[in-house]
């Protein structure tokens, strides 16, 4: 039980990961797909942050009286990954706008039908 | 000029000629002059190379080394010399013929025709002089690809279909089977050099030898051993000079030449005899000889009949290689030359009939011989040589092949050879006889029809005379064949 509770952040990571991945695969709406992708990425961010946590560690700022710090590197890494994620989302949404202009729809089935009927 | 340069010239002069031909496409006379001059030069070169070889010169020329230890290298040895002589000399004759034919028949795209023809001859020369299996394979493939547009020359749906079969089978077998065999050979022996006595002996379990040998024999699709023979009749949609030179000389002989070369220099005839690896393969060749002859009898189209006759005759050579006895190899090698001269005569005649009388079906040719005596006379001589009757060159190769079969104790094979000769008589001789003594179906008298253009006639006369000369004077080819078979 302790093991399960003690790692609750990892369970959350897995839950979010599955949720996000399922959304990407199952949804036909392009915007919802992007949302799912975001959830998926976020779960990975959480994973990194969890890795960086050190038991009884504090914020990694050097100060009097503290010797145990959390590992700052994963946080730095994940800042970069967040930026990448934002860029991906922006590009994805921009593409959706163009698709909407071209097809008049953001539903995958709809778009697929239009392409077939060409 | 040093010998290396001669070898290079023999291969690259036709290639250079091809570019010259392309440049002169606007001036047909100049273009044909280039063809003739190149062909004449190549003939001189191969003859000079032949005399140099007679004098015992060792000639090899290295071009590049694409894979470490596997250079592109050319070497002159008796077997290749024989093939080069045949291809080089007959190119000259065919060029003379082709000019008359192409103009007489008003073919389109003549520039492309002459240029690709020259490239094909260049790669045939490369095949002949290849110093290792990689070089041979390279030239073999260039030959395939460069002849493909020649087969499809007419551009009709039928020509395209034929050309597709042609390319499909030749590329398919060469990449699917032959390349695999080459790679296996390389991974076993660590080299692809042609060496006296072979490079595989002792490196391969005899049980597997047969399989590898089969990969080669069937992989060399140009040898047209059944069941990979379909491309040859399909290729008959090509203009007649193409059929004549490429499908009686260069392409098909490149195939059987490769079989011989692999047998002698990769496996080594002793190794094949010891391992007994050709015991079952030999029946494929035997069956091809008989079946192709039988099919030939059913064909009414003259070129189709000749095509199946070629398939049958090619398997004689393959048979000689598979027997792997000394006499068998000599017979097979000699047959390259003898069959080439005889078969090209037949094709020339077939083309002349097409140009002069516009006839392709044998049943329509009754009585035509009286209008075109020279053409059908040449056809008769060619037929007799193919059948193997004296005094024509074809007798010698059959003679040695027969002795080879006896040496190997293969009495059944000997009877195959004899039966096949009878079949040859049955499907070839009726044609000239019918033409000379028969009558046209509709009883018409051919008063309008004259002999084909003089250059066609000249070519036919040269090759049919050659058939006779080769009976009395086969020495040069015989010496080369003996040299190739190991000189024992």
């Amino acid at each position: 039980m302790d093991y399960i509770l003690g790692h609750y952040n990892y369970w959350m990571v897995i839950l979010l990961m599955m949720l996000g991945f399922y959304t990407v695969v199952s949804q036909g709406n392009l915007i919802k797909k992007i949302a799912g992708l975001n959830i998926f990425q976020t779960s990975v961010f959480l994973l990194y942050i969890s890795i960086g946590n050190v038991k009884h560690g504090t914020t990694p700022i050097v100060a009097e009286g503290f010797t145990q710090y959390s590992n700052p590197l994963p946080h730095v890494l994940i800042l970069t990954a967040i930026v990448v994620g934002v860029a991906t989302t922006a590009l994805g949404l921009a593409l959706i706008i163009r698709i909407k202009e071209a097809y008049g729809s953001v539903e995958e089935d709809d778009i697929h039908n239009q392409d077939q009927s060409l | 000029m040093s010998d290396q340069w001669l070898v290079m010239l023999a291969i690259f002069l036709p290639m250079a000629g091809a570019s010259g031909i392309t440049l002169c496409s606007a001036w047909p006379n100049l273009r044909e002059t280039i063809t003739l001059v190149t062909a004449a030069l190549v003939s001189v070169i191969v003859i000079v190379l032949f005399t140099r070889l007679e004098q015992g010169a060792v000639i090899s020329a290295r071009l590049a080394e694409p894979l470490p230890g596997l250079p592109i290298v050319f070497e002159v040895e008796p077997l290749g010399m024989l093939f080069a002589l045949v291809a080089g000399l007959l190119w000259l004759v065919t060029s003379v013929y082709a000019i008359g034919y192409m103009r007489g028949h008003h073919e389109k795209n003549q520039t492309r025709f002459y240029a690709l023809f020259a490239i094909a001859i260049g790669s045939a020369m490369g095949t002949a002089f290849a110093g290792n299996l990689l070089t041979l394979f390279l030239c073999y493939e260039i030959l395939t690809v460069s002849t493909y547009p020649l087969v499809a020359h007419a551009g009709t749906a039928e020509a395209r279909r034929g050309a597709r079969t042609y390319l499909g089978i030749l590329l398919g077998t060469s990449i699917g089977l032959q390349l695999l065999a080459i790679l296996i050979t390389y991974s076993l022996a660590g080299t692809l050099e042609f060496r006296e006595g072979g490079i595989l002996a002792g490196r391969l379990d005899p049980a597997w030898t047969g399989l590898l040998y089969a990969l080669f024999v069937f992989g060399i699709g140009k040898a047209a051993v059944m069941p990979f023979h379909r491309w040859l009749p399909a290729a008959m949609v090509a203009p007649t000079p193409v059929s004549a030179l490429l499908h009686a000389v260069a392409v098909v002989k490149a195939g059987v030449f490769t079989v011989l070369k692999v047998t002698i220099y990769i496996f080594g005839s002793d190794f094949i005899l010891q391992s007994g690896s050709s015991d079952w393969l030999i029946w494929f060749a035997g069956a091809t000889i008989l079946l192709a002859s039988l099919i030939a009898m059913t064909k009414d189209n003259l070129k189709a009949r000749l095509a199946y006759s070629t398939i049958s005759q090619l398997s004689y050579i393959v048979l000689g290689a598979l027997l792997a006895t000394n006499m068998g190899l000599i017979g097979g090698t000699l047959h390259i030359a003898m069959h080439a001269v005889a078969k090209i005569t037949l094709f020339f005649a077939a083309g002349a009939i097409l140009v002069a009388a516009h006839k392709t079906e044998i049943s329509d040719m009754g009585g035509l011989g009286r209008a075109m005596p020279i053409t059908f006379g040449a056809f008769l001589i060619g037929s007799l040589s193919i059948i193997g009757l004296p005094p024509f060159g074809g007798m010698w190769s059959k003679w040695y092949l027969g002795i080879g079969a006896i040496d190997a104790g293969q009495w059944l094979l000997l009877s195959v050879l004899l039966v096949s000769s009878l079949l040859n008589i049955a499907y070839l001789l009726p044609i000239p006889i019918h033409a000379f003594f028969g009558n046209a179906k509709d009883g018409a008298q051919y008063t309008q029809i004259k002999e084909a253009p003089s250059s066609c006639v000249a070519a036919m006369i040269i090759t049919s005379v050659a058939c006779v000369v080769l009976f009395f004077y086969p020495d040069p080819f015989y010496k080369l064949a003996v040299g190739a078979a190991g000189g024992r």
Binding site: F21, V24, L30, K33, L37, F40, Q41, V44, L47, Y48, I51, P74, L77, T80, A81, V84, A87, T88, L91, G92, L95, I96, R98, I99, A102, Y103, I111, D115 | L63, A64, P66, L67, P68, I72, L134, F137, L138, E141, I142, V145, P149, A152, G155, R160, A163, R164, L167, G168, L171, G172, I175, G176, L179, L180, L183, I184, Y186, S187
Partner: protein, 492 residues
């Protein structure tokens, strides 16, 4: 000075040039600037390769932070070779781009197009040069994001959906890679490849490392278009602008192959792959890729799509080389990376030239054009022979090594599959050749002119390279063998 910062410059120059191009006025200026940048990059890449051919290793510490804490650029023969492919194809593709982009991309977008192109180049070069796995992820995303944008600029609206599909799958792949990297970091506390190759073996027993390896292989496999993760590729290459099809087909998958090689052989050393069924997995995927994609290619009616499926099959060959894991197999993979870049580049350029004149890449539309565009046709023909692997062309060399590697392992199935792939290539290339040369052109159209010189020259440059590297393999095989020794070396 330049020599010391060579590797950094190779990434920094296109990166800095990208925003500058975006601000340049419309017209030829953005193109000219991009062209000069790409040529500078090519020069630097050649210089860099020349420095490492003898087996030397350049280690560049970014910002002066010593590895394994700081980011290290670590150049050996492997990545210098791949960087040369990327820079070389970019330098050849750009002269081609001028006319092709003028026709396919609206004028106001051209500066942005070239900006995205430079960013893509930055990303691809960065992936090859960096010695840090997280940095690799960042560069991977730079190249991917810019390529999504580039693909979406194709003139049919389906380019948009193709780009979107690629974006979704590419992001999933990159995130998988990120998960894998995170798990490795959790186990070892390091991100430096060389450092990892020393530290990882101690943890090979751990389940986490196996999971990490699986995530990384799937993630990179998506980028690599490794069968069955290839579904994004045919659409992306079909609808992208011509020059982008050329550039991506010749470089993007090659770089992904490089990442796979690095991950499998450097980060997780060869002993890990031997203890796990990795080899078998790659074998199955490679064989499946070659066969399935080749069959698909035969049935395509769009020339670009046909070539795209052929690319998936060619990736299968490279995967097979990885599966063998032997010196010969890896040599084959590396040589094929180079040769395939040459042949696919030339083929896509030829198709691009046809599209330039016709506006369509349907095979039926090409009927009879071989006579009207003889140079384009000849280029297509020769590059096609190279794709088939006819001797005398570059393609033959890679096939040769690959089959030898299969025979060396007595893997008959793989050897036969490789040759069967060649036979399929005969069939699908001949569909193109026959349409171009032997079918008659529709009567109504006015005569189609040969493609302009600016398209022909780069195309023929690659065609000649195809022939040259079929006869002289000192550069390709020589460097590949040095590179293979580095890849297979055990960590010290």
């Amino acid at each position: 000075m330049i020599e010391q910062n060579l590797s950094l410059l190779l990434v920094a120059i296109p990166l800095l040039a990208a925003p500058i191009v975006a601000t340049l006025p419309r017209g030829k200026l953005p193109w000219l600037f991009t062209l000069s940048v790409s040529w500078v990059c090519l020069g630097l890449a050649i210089w860099q390769l020349w420095l490492v051919t003898d087996g030397r290793i350049i280690s560049y510490e970014l910002g002066g932070w010593a590895p394994p804490w700081g980011i290290e650029y670590r150049i050996d023969a492997v990545n210098a070779f791949v960087a040369l492919i990327v820079a070389g194809i970019a330098a050849v593709a750009l002269p081609y781009a001028l006319r092709s982009v003028e026709q396919e991309i609206p004028l106001q977008q051209t500066p942005l197009f070239y900006t995205a192109f430079l960013l893509c180049l930055t990303g691809l070069l960065g992936i090859t040069l960096t010695g840090d796995v997280f940095n690799l992820f960042v560069f991977l995303e730079i190249s991917s994001l810019s390529s999504y944008a580039l693909i979406s600029m194709g003139r049919q609206r389906r380019a948009l959906t193709a780009a979107y599909q690629y974006l979704i799958m590419g992001t999933i792949g990159a995130t998988f890679l990120l998960i894998g990297i995170g798990l490795i970091y959790a186990e070892t506390g390091s991100l430096n490849m060389m450092d990892l190759s020393v530290r990882l073996p101690a943890t090979f027993e751990h389940r986490t490392i196996h999971t990490a390896f699986a995530f990384i292989v799937v993630g990179v496999g998506l980028k690599l278009a490794m069968f069955p993760l290839h579904v994004w590729l045919p659409n992306a290459y079909t609808y992208a602008p011509s020059v982008i099809s050329v550039f991506l087909s010749a470089t993007a998958t090659k770089v992904a192959v490089y990442v796979m090689l690095r991950m499998v052989f450097t980060v997780f050393s060869g002993s890990f792959t031997q203890d796990t069924p990795t080899g078998n997995m790659f074998m199955v995927l490679g064989i499946g890729g070659v066969l399935v994609a080749s069959v698909y290619a035969v049935y395509q009616r769009d020339a670009k799509r046909l070539l795209a499926y052929s690319s998936v099959a060619q990736v299968g060959y490279m995967v097979l080389g990885i599966a063998f894991g032997t010196a010969l197999g890896l040599t084959a993979t590396l040589v094929h990376m180079f040769n395939h870049a040459l042949m696919k580049g030339a083929l896509f350029m030829a198709i691009g030239a046809l599209v330039y004149r016709l506006g369509s890449s349907q095979i039926d539309a090409f009927n009879g054009l071989g006579r009207q565009m003889p140079w384009t046709f000849a280029a297509l023909f020769i590059a096609g022979l190279s794709l088939i692997g006819v001797p005398g062309t570059a393609g033959f060399i890679s096939k040769w090594y690959l089959v030898l590697a299969a025979l060396e392992k007595s893997n008959w199935i793989a050897a036969i599959v490789i040759l069967a792939g060649s036979l399929f290539a005969v069939i699908y290339m001949w569909k193109l050749v026959e349409a171009l040369f032997f079918r008659s052109a529709p009567q109504s159209d006015a005569a189609v002119k040969e493609a302009p010189l600016s398209l022909l020259v780069p195309m023929w440059l690659l065609v000649v390279a195809n022939l040259y590297f079929g006869f002289n393999t000192q550069l390709t095989v020589g460097i590949a063998q040095t590179a293979v020794n580095i890849l297979r070396a055990l960590p010290q």
